[in-house]
Subunit: 394 residues, 2 copies
Amino acid sequence: MQGSIRVPGFFGSSVASGIKSGGGRDLSLISSKVTARAAGVFTTNCFKAAPVVLDMERIKKGCAQAVVVNSGNANAATGEEGYKNAAAMSRAVSERLGIEDELVLAASTGIIGERLPIEKITRAVGPLVGGLNADGISAVAEGIMTTDRFPKIEHRRYFAGGKEITVCGIAKGAGMIEPNMATMLSFILTDADIDQSCLSGVFMEAADRSFNAITVDGCMSTNDTAIILANGVAGNRPVSETSRGFVGFRDALFDVMESLARSIVRDGEGATKLIEIVVEGAKTAGDARKIAYAIANSNLVKTAFFGEDPNWGRIISAAGSTGIAFPADSLELYIEDIPLFMHGSGISGKEAAEIMKRDEIRILVRLGMGNETARVYTSDLSHEYVNINALYRS
Amino acid sequence: MQGSIRVPGFFGSSVASGIKSGGGRDLSLISSKVTARAAGVFTTNCFKAAPVVLDMERIKKGCAQAVVVNSGNANAATGEEGYKNAAAMSRAVSERLGIEDELVLAASTGIIGERLPIEKITRAVGPLVGGLNADGISAVAEGIMTTDRFPKIEHRRYFAGGKEITVCGIAKGAGMIEPNMATMLSFILTDADIDQSCLSGVFMEAADRSFNAITVDGCMSTNDTAIILANGVAGNRPVSETSRGFVGFRDALFDVMESLARSIVRDGEGATKLIEIVVEGAKTAGDARKIAYAIANSNLVKTAFFGEDPNWGRIISAAGSTGIAFPADSLELYIEDIPLFMHGSGISGKEAAEIMKRDEIRILVRLGMGNETARVYTSDLSHEYVNINALYRS
């Protein structure tokens, strides 16, 4: 396929196994030719889907070689049988690939509370593995979609010590959709050779800045999963926290994951705008984040953006409602570079109203209390959001 | 006026002073013939409206004799001038009533960030005070409305030691309304003679069970105010925490305030349903409350109720998302008395779908972790909510 993205040593495949009633691709596989270093970030919801439980156990070893993903069924709230099915899905793949079962991770997204049709899946594993090819990653990006309007794939290439390194990520999310809630899945593939503890640390940090900094409706799925595989085939000098190659890798990873996160918000259910909320001047990073999220999750703020109204009152009120104390007079609020509120009073202007018509808008809140900052992305709240979520039948 | 509610020793009045462009009643006054014991609960938002700042200072003394309230303008985010205007509004009333200025409390609700038209207000204070009458409390309930669809007034009468005691409350809220955010105002009047520290304690407790247990959109206003005045004219044996009359007073107060809180949710912007969320079996009351609020503020849950879909997956996922750990298998979820989820699996049935069509619905979540409980009221999320809040122009 012309223009498809390759990551050296990785292969992808996606087939229609019959889980989705519409007959679309619903079973996908990513595989590395060699065992890769691996790290993962998973939902903190008390209700964890079966594949999440499986992955959390397996990823402790810090390595993996394949990820099998089905869409159309979340295999969540399915009890003991659900766990057995997740394991069976993995085993069918490991046997066919001829690799250790423990090296296969699994992910599911779709309707919750329904039994995974494991027979359909095991029957499709033959064609799935048979279809693995170096141009298959884009097909996987499509195969993991549920109600996503477009596939999400990002990559960066850079040179380190004469070796080209690729960092590529795919993602799906975040409408709540097909069934019940917003599941976000993301798989990051890189041919970089990187120390496992370094990989794990930088991946956590990148997840905090990207997938953990977005909100469409403040809800957290039972299935949220982000996994990184680094297979080392680039042959670079291994990256560690103190190595020269660290910054290049980190920057590429941050860039890929932040771009994916923005795409997820853009594709949020009913979203018409991408809103970036930056909080500066907080005493602690936790304070900054709490205030940014209070603004990002405020239905009053989100509907004001849908209505294209630069309603500073709703924004400062959300900022002031978290229980974190700051002097009201010190807060400054900007939309792009236009001040909306300072010295305790609001400022309304024609310029701000014009900016509200854009489809990407940046809000800056300065607290004047310290030096900590946070950045969160959110979407507006539209009629379409209510339609999608009220009309869906569980 | 026939059928109007009287509270011995209290008078009410409401006039059109010209703050509201439509010409409706917008300036109201409650006055007691004698100094009353007083307690208040105010917004914890960092941005506090000028009258809130004024009241928080004055109520420390534990007594008050009048409350003046304007609607149509919040006198919030108005700086130093806003505070002077709140004080001027109070002074105009105290001079005309011939009472100490410190005994007058003030409240405002309406557009934020606009200067209070204090001349209009002081000009109207003559007719306002002149109109005070024992049947005027209902007029005040109407005069404090902004986009409320109906006035909210509740009362209970009971006998204690041969004396009849009245507890009456009025409230407005909780759409975000006229301008920017949901302001909730409530004034509770009673002729009971009650010890000040007892009044303060039981009022805080009642506010926690009522106004602090409701959510329409999880937003907190700059102007939220609840005040109780107890003028003692019933001549009962003074109520204290250890007196025989305590339980009767507390029950009447809880009843009045919970009824007002339910009315506020019922009148929430775009609300079509009142949803009661009960969490039982938590380790701490804080845990129970946090989980109840996570469900109550989930847009996925709220849209499911609007769509009349008994979507248990959204409810358990919201319950599991707070960071409070509990074993997923121990959670039980009921709608009214119909189980929706237990032993780790969902139960769907025709009965649950029928119950979702009701306009008052009770959800019960049992965690099986301890003995603490919480109760929260919320509304559904409808197209009308988006309309009201997106189309309003600040």
